[in-house]
Symmetry: C2
Subunit: 356 residues, 2 copies
């Protein structure tokens, strides 16, 4: 495999021990070999790679050459053990398949990579049982930080996380009692803002289609409260199982129409853009005109929301900003920088397009 022998093999041959045990090792080039090639101590080679300005130019050059000639790639596993800094960060999502957290994961991965950190991905699923095993698997890798997106169900799990001493960033929410650090926004404010937006547009008969997860529920309650405060009639509600799909959006509109044939809603707020697309699809299939007969507002500002027909009015969350800020929090903490700020509210905005 290695077309360049000689250079890498010899330095190890003159080991002082007269062959006691045969321990295999990985066979890869080690920092020791680099040091020998460069004629310096291992620690000096280490410094040349990690903190180049702590060594002389001559040493730096020799080490660099040795690295280039051998194709050495440093072993972060060993480094992590010695320094108790793995430069690994874990992200936990319910599932990667959903479109919601993708942008966050993408931004997180990219931002971490810039600082030399690597992302580990864990899926908590929608079942509690897996969560504990996942947490053990993660903590066992001693990441320098854990980013939580979506909820962590078990209180047991929260305890374990806390006990591990690993920095934690919770995202996509803005709870009053964070585990550690927090990057998110208020779901209550979203529900309230959308209700007021629709009411300001002249709508009275409001409806809401929402997943049965906790965050959607919070938006729902705030939405209802705002409608009530504006003296609008009671909000017509349909809950669908999470994760939300286009299909459940279609069914939800059917249910909505069937429930009140005489007084159909004039506007509906969906707890995801996919749900909204489902509502729009069903409306179109039934010849219901949007936004004239039914106004639709989504949530998430999915990539293609602007290009739908009609273009979807929705709530935009800056998933990118969340990912970047989460990365920043963890890197700062790992680097030992004292962070004054522990919670960031990235807010949201209602993107007004054609569907409402």
């Amino acid at each position: 495999m290695n077309p360049d022998p000689g250079a890498t093999a010899d330095p190890l041959a003159e080991s002082p021990h007269p062959a006691r045990r045969a321990r295999r090792g990985s066979g890869a080039v080690t920092l020791h070999a680099i040091a020998k090639l460069a004629g310096v101590a291992p620690i000096t080679a280490s410094r040349a790679l990690n903190t180049p300005d702590q060594v002389s130019a001559k040493v730096l050059q020799k080490v660099t050459e040795a690295v280039a000639s051998t194709g050495y790639v440093r072993n972060h596993i060993a480094g992590g053990l010695a320094s108790t800094r793995s430069r690994l960060v874990a992200a936990v999502v319910p599932t990667v398949a959903g479109p919601v957290f993708l942008q966050t994961v993408q931004a997180l991965t990219a931002a971490l990579a810039e600082h030399g950190y690597q992302l580990m991905l864990g899926q908590s699923g929608y079942v509690d049982s897996r969560e504990d095993a996942l947490l053990d698997a993660i903590i066992g890798r001693r990441p320098d930080g854990i980013v939580l997106t979506g909820i962590l169900h078990s209180p047991e799990g929260r305890k374990r996380l806390l006990a591990s001493g690993i920095p934690v960033v919770e995202t996509w929410d803005f709870t009053p009692t964070p585990l550690d650090m927090l990057v998110g926004f208020s779901h209550e404010d979203v529900g309230c803002a959308v209700a007021n937006y629709l009411i300001a547009k002249g709508h009275r008969r409001l409806a809401l289609v929402a997943g049965d997860d906790e965050r959607s529920t919070r938006r729902l309650h705030a939405f209802q409260a705002a409608a009530h405060a504006a003296h609008a009639p009671p909000v017509q509600v349909v809950r669908v199982p999470a994760p939300t799909t286009l299909k459940s959006g279609r069914s939800a509109l059917v249910a909505l129409l069937a429930a009140a044939p005489d007084a159909p809603p004039g506007a509906v707020f969906c707890s995801s853009d996919l749900l909204a697309l489902g509502v729009m699809t069903e409306a179109q299939a039934r010849g219901l005109s949007i936004p004239t007969q039914l106004a639709v507002v989504g949530f998430g500002d999915i990539e293609f929301a602007a290009d739908l027909h009609p273009a979807l009015t929705t709530v935009r969350i800056d998933g990118n900003a969340i990912g970047r800020q989460a990365a920043q929090f963890i890197v700062d903490r790992a680097e030992g920088r004292g962070v004054a700020l522990r919670a960031v509210d990235v807010g949201f905005s209602i993107v007004e397009r054609d569907s409402a």
Copy 2:
């Protein structure tokens, strides 16, 4: 932080060295502490955790109790260094934001977790420059395997991967010259099959909207060849930049219609479902009826393809199977099991719905 002192602190106090250096360690409970608590040697505690049937029931119980009482979580970093098996697997995708590889990543993550492996995620982006740095970051973590989805641009990178000796699985393709292991399907066969399908449906004027990536190009060529073989008129082609979007699908249909106002295509094959949704959206906006005036075929069978209106006819790839098989390959290799098979063709199927 830890509300349960006493149990964990004492065993370490009687260290034989009269305090020479102060090395801090992580402060977490170690296997040594567990062993002391259970009254056995560290290696025995290790065996109790890793290979429980190699120890007596009594020892197993004592160790289990010690683990429970201290909340011990084993350090995989240290274990990985000692055993040269990190139980980490890297997956490289162009970007997590695209819907294409999500199912694969999800299945991969889940399947690996079942075997005690954890996924590291790397984004190669659409720029070559990042690739080398990413590869170094990955190899430096000494994963037990690397799963490649989407193309690896640089031949330099391929060389590095090979030299690292890490098992590699390439996915979503079936090339004749794999780096190592392979799970995918033939893009040529897809292009050919779709062309024949449309022709069998009586279509003659075929069009194709495709991303400018390599795989789409291969489908494109096969599609053209099959159309030509069936004596159909030349295929009308529009290329769009990768990653494909709903928006570019809309523009593509505009371009298609503008290019041949007198002889519009009767059927169009899109290189992604998102593109197909864009074409359908634009068609609907223009009052063009699908499938009567224009038949549309997508690629990928995105989650909501069946629920669109009209339901989208598309090419289904079993991303789940790809992810699971890739995990199997890597676990088998890591476990030292000789694998006879090194390449699996998962095939594809045309899912006939209403749009074509």
